[in-house]
């Protein structure tokens, strides 16, 4: 069943906020926001039970527009606030919206521990390989040689993969999509929100204003077209060699496993400790 945009606007956008939103024309953040709302809508979550925390950066402004329990935390720390909320009230559906720098640079330590701890949280990471809001500095996912305001001689460091990092750190569910594959993103977000344990959805998104422009990757249309042309499903990627995968974006579910979920373990020791006290 498809949710028309008019319904999303009416139901989920805060009516007293100024629209159109603050992101640049063609920015992928708006597409991710739409996909997230469609996922929440089809899951029929009550708005009272959804908590959306975000860090600092362009992605950080998303919860401000949405009619949930929203929280705009300090840079990189969204997952720590989310951990506190989830443990204090496990009935809430808690998700964190972060950028690539927000989640894996300053927030990297919290990201890998949230994954290791495998709490019932959902992390949506909008990866546009740049610090957009602050004017275009490189981030942990900016490729080697890329131009940015802090790598005018070409970036001298190599990027790491957010999704593989999450898989290794122990997240139960890790998936990747791009802003082109909105249908897929809807499904992955639905799975991530309902997944038992820490669920990560990395979305490759375009920042044509800060990143695309300086690296001659074109405007929003060209960058999103490149995502369409370079995307490879997880199944197809498995049969491809390293060289063939060069520059490709593997999309789909990278990990979906049943693992111990510490939210449940915390509840168990609570019960156990209280029984012992009696």
């Amino acid at each position: 069943m498809h949710v028309p945009a008019r319904e999303l606007r009416q139901e989920y956008l805060r009516h007293d906020k100024k629209f159109p939103h603050v992101w640049c024309p063609g920015c992928g953040n708006g597409i991710v926001m739409g996909s997230l709302l469609r996922a929440i809508s089809s899951l029929k979550l009550s708005k009272d039970e959804v908590v959306m925390a975000s860090g600092i950066g362009c992605s950080g402004r998303m919860p401000t527009y949405l009619d949930f329990n929203t929280l705009h935390t300090t840079h990189g720390r969204a997952l720590t606030f989310a951990t506190g909320i989830k443990l204090a009230n496990p009935t809430l559906t808690v998700m964190a919206i972060m950028g690539d720098g927000d989640a894996t640079a300053i927030g990297g330590n919290h990201f890998i521990h949230a994954a290791r701890r495998n709490l019932n949280l959902t992390a949506v990471i909008i990866n546009n390989s740049i610090y957009g809001m602050t004017g275009g500095q490189y981030s942990p996912t900016t490729p080697f040689g890329a131009r940015s305001t802090t790598s005018v001689y070409g970036h001298v460091e190599h990027a790491f993969s957010i999704s593989e990092l999450a898989v290794t750190a122990g997240a139960s569910f890790v998936a990747r999509s791009t802003v082109y594959h909105a249908d897929l993103m809807d499904k992955l977000l639905e799975k991530a929100i309902t997944k038992r344990g820490f669920a990560v959805v990395e979305v490759i998104s375009n920042c044509h204003v800060q990143y695309g422009r300086r690296n001659r990757l074109g405007d929003a249309v060209e960058m999103i077209t490149s995502y369409r042309d370079n995307a490879v499903t997880v199944r197809k990627a498995a049969a491809m060699t390293e060289e063939e995968l060069e520059g490709k974006i593997t999309i789909g579910v990278l990990a979906d496993r049943e693992m111990p979920v510490s939210t449940e373990e915390y509840a168990r020791i609570r019960k156990q400790a209280q029984e012992k006290k009696k």
């Binding site: 498809h2 945009a5 640049c24 063609g26 802003v179 999103i224 499903t233």
Partner: protein
């Protein structure tokens, strides 16, 4: 260039184009020009190439009958400015 279908993705998102009485359904696409930032995504990716910029640069549908209701534009509009809805043609008074 139709949208690249990925096997992991059920086509449920796209409503079947069979109409109530079996003939092809047509769709109405409405734009919020106030919210539209003329980013050009809808115009570039519409499979039927029926979204054009008007004199102010805002998107308009040139031929609504060609719209297959794939909703690509609606789902990729960063500003929630597009809604695609099923338009059932009114032929008879009783036709709901």
């Amino acid at each position: 260039m139709a949208q690249k279908k990925t096997p992991a993705q059920p086509s449920g998102a796209k409503p079947k184009s069979a109409g109530i009485s079996g003939q092809k359904k047509s769709h109405a696409v409405s734009f919020y020009h106030d919210w539209c930032k003329e980013c050009g995504l809808c115009m570039a990716f519409c499979p039927k190439k029926i979204i054009r910029a008007d004199k102010n640069g805002k998107p308009v549908i040139t031929n609504e009958d060609l719209c297959t209701g794939c909703r690509f534009c609606e789902m990729h509009c960063p500003d929630f400015a597009i809604t695609v809805e099923v338009r059932t043609p009114r032929r008879r008074k009783t036709d709901e």
